[in-house]
Symmetry: C2
Subunit: 205 residues, 2 copies
């Protein structure tokens, strides 16, 4: 691509380093900013800088936070004895949107994946095990993705806390609400039959 301006070329180069954004899209975004008032570019750059420089990780659950202990961990309305274990802060956001979990979270920061060079010590597992050992946890809910890596991570944590007095559970696998049975894969369909729930209970959900 031939640029008539070095400033433009540099801006497009930087934007196109973002994942999923090629040179053409980057050019479109940059030209859009050029057509908007200067304040928009200023707002964008200020927000990004502030986010990158000042954002913290909650010292308790490793969720993103503006302060040392995040809003969820410090809320008096949340049950600190029920911890939902997730891979990523996006999972926290997804579960929070459902408003179905009244406990707190623990963000691992990934899942065990030897192929990607991620071992147990690259994740926030030690702090989770310590929390359980301290004896203030009643239940751990494993809410990792249903993949080989997710299952491995679940099992690794389960082994670490074996013998300690804590209940463990995993989120239910089954047919998505609104999905047609015939298109479901057989493992999911099989599990949904094995883990069937009383019909009366389903009426209340």
């Amino acid at each position: 691509m031939e640029f008539s301006s070095k400033l433009l070329e540099k801006a497009v180069g930087e934007v196109s380093q973002l994942p999923g954004i090629g040179k053409r899209t980057a050019l479109r975004l940059v030209l859009h900013l050029l057509r908007q008032p200067k304040e928009q570019t200023q707002g964008l750059t200020t927000a990004l800088s502030a986010m990158r420089n000042d954002l913290k990780f909650c010292k308790s659950c490793h969720n993103l936070s503006d302060v040392d202990i995040c809003e969820i961990c410090s809320s008096v309305l949340r049950d600190k004895e029920i911890i939902c274990v997730v891979e990523d802060i996006r999972d926290v956001m997804a579960i929070e949107n459902t408003a179905s979990h009244k406990g707190i979270y623990h963000v691992l920061g990934g899942k065990i994946s030897p192929i990607d060079g991620v071992g147990p010590h690259d994740l926030n597992i030690v702090t989770l095990v310590e929390k359980v050992k301290a004896g203030h946890v009643k239940e751990l809910i494993f809410a990792l993705s249903s993949t080989m890596e997710g299952d491995t991570t679940n099992f690794y944590i389960f082994k670490q806390i074996q013998g300690l007095e804590v209940k463990t559970s995993t989120i239910a696998r089954g047919i998505s609400v609104g999905d047609e049975l015939e298109y479901a894969d057989e493992i999911t369909l099989g599990r949904s039959i094995l883990n069937r729930i009383p019909f009366e209970a389903s009426l209340k959900q």
Copy 2:
């Protein structure tokens, strides 16, 4: 979307104002920046600020430029008597990539489109007509898109310079190189037959 951090929410909000980028994509981009070294975010914000604050429009052709007169207009290798009229700076880049135009450009900044409230006076038409009136232009090549608005703009400019001593041409419309005839629309196919060129000439291209 529930955010655990105001800084994150603000950054996602700003990024999602860019065209074609929704909240989810914005979150993915912002989290990517968080995982990269701080220098990447700094590079991005610095480049965007510099671009928005210091970028100029060439005083002659209205192309984007770092200086008052752009590289193309100030180059001694370009024929100043042949002006290619385009809508947008992206068209300049596209034509420059083909290396087939040895003259200079004139960027209109859009095309006449009453539906979008764009009239001739919103475009850089006056400066173009002045250039032609000054008498130093031998040929105007209209390279606007082949739409109702593009054709209207071509015709408006053509009327403005009627009677002046200047050759006008438009880029050829025809079947794209590599396209199958049967899938071409009939207007394009019809024009490509009417505007056929000697076979010997095509061998040299």
